[in-house]
Amino acid sequence: MRITRTFQVAAAAALLLAATACGSSGSGGSSATGLNPPDLKAQSKLGTSEGQVNLIAWAGYVEDGSNDPKVDWVTPFEKQTGCKVNSKVAASSDEMVKLMKTGQYDAVSASGDASLRLIASGDAAPVNTKLVPNYADIFSGLKNGSWNSVKGQMYGIPHGRGANLLMYNTAKVSPAPTSWSAVFDDASKYKGHVTAYDSPIYIADAALYLKATKPELKIKDPYALDQKQFDAAVALLKKQNADIGEYWSDYLKEISAFKSGDSVVGTTWQVIANLTADEGVKVKAFVPKEGSTGWSDTWMLYSKAKHPNCAYQWMNWIVSPTVNAQVAEYFGEAPANSKACDHTSDKTFCETYHAADESYWKNIAFWNTPIEQCLDGRTDVKCVPYAKWVQAWTEIKG
């Protein structure tokens, strides 16, 4: 059973990432992205329940006990509200956007890149946070982010977040690294045993490192790279490729590589670090001095939803303290609700995941989708769009 659970979480998380998610740099709420969403009005009050709600979600976000009888926060919701939940697991952000466009769904657990696209196309409705009582308890760092709001208007309810960490095997890597240089400039020390996340969005990790080490490149936001900055990041990754043993895209692969010693240093998520430590491997995972990249998800409402009242009740339910604690623990992410920490089954969970540590999240540049209009507000240059990132990633791997 544990295996299946891990598998699910792995799949969920792998998909989540494969899709390239989330937001933009930290707490910055600027809408310098040039986003001009259609003028939509948020609902002013809740009506009667429609009896059902159709959701699109990442695997592990809408659990009704069919995967694991003990993991069920849908049934109590249905009992309490009378809204029957129909959920569809999406494999990627692009699939989420496509599904939302079919008009059959009411809400989606969108990651940053999907959320920006949904807002821009008018598929996502502004959300009246007053109708979501639990919104008051959401960590302020997740409110009014550039990935879930436009000009102070929220377009969804934050669900949870996570950071990409540097993990190393304490027995084999010494001295202990403090910087991302362990996987970039000094990677040759562990040639063939360095690992990195297998996705184009990983280019942002290189950009983040260059932001700190090569000030002459003037990188402000790792998701807003002009051609020169982008080329520098790609060159760094091509150099890194010689030292890479393997790239990882799912949980199990990275855990097994650290267990066998095939990988000794590389990027990871907190939940993988925990599982690897559980396997008896001496590893440590932390945010290096340059800061790091990360991800955050938001529940968004379809602008022409057929069941908006049930959808609002769902958004309130999923971020309620107990349920948010359950889903965060099941998925392995920091909960969005500040009161969720009192309800986790593992009392140190929030500490491990830095749920309440806003200074920790200040150093995290949440994933965003690079577009031609530079996200950092520059107008004199064009930035490299995500499609080019995908192309470059193929070339980096060779």
């Binding site: 066998s260 577009i371 769009p385």
Partner: protein
């Protein structure tokens, strides 16, 4: 007369109608679902995508094929994939021939069916289980390292050689079986005649056995070649950082479907060429 017997009678008198009714469903399957999807694949390779929403834009353009032929990384990956498929096929032949010779001609007849079953058993296990087993074998300090240590060597680690090795293991039964069948059907009196005429075993093998078994080797190679060319999971698990065509298709499928389609036509074309080449050996009639 009941309706049933009337219908039966009508069908009996019209053999063409009978044939049409029998074949419509399978032919529809072949034409629509199989060839149709191949056609859609090919056509969509000429479309483009919107770079912001990744939606497919149905505007005719040959950009994808242009990129396919001019981008060094694509060329490199295509050649690498064909190389892997050829290497796996060659390794399979080298390993399968002696094995099949033993199971078909050397082993006692009563053991032969059991040996064939033993060859088939790996096919009963899940593909993923087998590949993950190889991941453990090839990992640092794994079985491969441990076995080679006394000779002062170490295993190949994860990478291209590991992928070739694992694929060889996976597809070996598909090579052994046709060779086994061909060797089993080889008339014993031909071998006797060869010996009577003074040929040594090497000459008999070259002049009698090999020409008769070659079509079966070619038949087996169609399996090993096409299965290796399309694989992208094994290489993800044991291939280290190696990319093959399948991985490129996979990484493009969500964001750039037309490019994925263009990449997807490459193995189709390669395999058609391979099949045409194999047809000359008579392999298709011994499948």
């Amino acid at each position: 007369m009941t309706a049933l017997t009337r219908t039966a009678g009508a069908l009996h008198r019209r053999p063409r109608l009978r044939l049409a009714l029998l074949l419509t469903a399978p032919l529809l399957w072949l034409a629509l679902l199989y060839l149709g999807s191949l056609a859609v694949l090919f056509v969509s390779a000429f479309w483009t995508t919107n770079s912001f929403t990744s939606e497919v834009v149905k505007v005719w353009s040959t950009d994808n094929f242009h990129a396919l032929f001019t981008t060094p990384v694509y060329r490199q990956v295509i050649l690498r994939s064909i190389g892997v498929a050829l290497a796996v096929t060659a390794l399979c032949v080298v390993i399968a021939f002696p094995l099949a010779f033993y199971t078909a001609r050397v082993a006692k007849p009563k053991w032969r069916p059991l040996l064939v079953v033993a060859i088939l058993t790996p096919l009963w296990a899940s593909y993923l289980v087998k590949v993950y087993a190889w991941r453990l074998i090839l990992s640092e300090g794994g079985l491969a390292d441990w076995m080679l240590k006394p000779f002062g060597l170490s295993g190949p680690g994860f990478g291209l050689p590991a992928a070739v090795l694992t694929l060889t293991y996976l597809w070996l039964p598909y090579m052994i079986l046709p060779i086994h069948t061909a060797l089993e059907q080889l008339p014993a009196n031909l071998l006797d005649a060869s010996a009577d005429l003074g040929a040594r075993s090497g000459r008999t093998f070259r002049s009698v056995v090999l020409p008769m078994v070659l079509p079966s080797v070619a038949a087996g190679s169609i399996f090993t070649f096409s299965l290796s060319l399309g694989d992208y999971i094994t290489v993800q698990i044991v291939g280290g950082k190696t990319q093959l065509i399948g991985n490129l298709v996979y990484s493009n499928i969500e964001l750039n479907l037309p490019m994925a389609a263009a990449l997807g036509t490459v193995p189709v074309v390669v395999i058609v060429v391979y099949l045409l080449a194999m047809r000359r050996t008579g392999a298709l009639s011994s499948l």
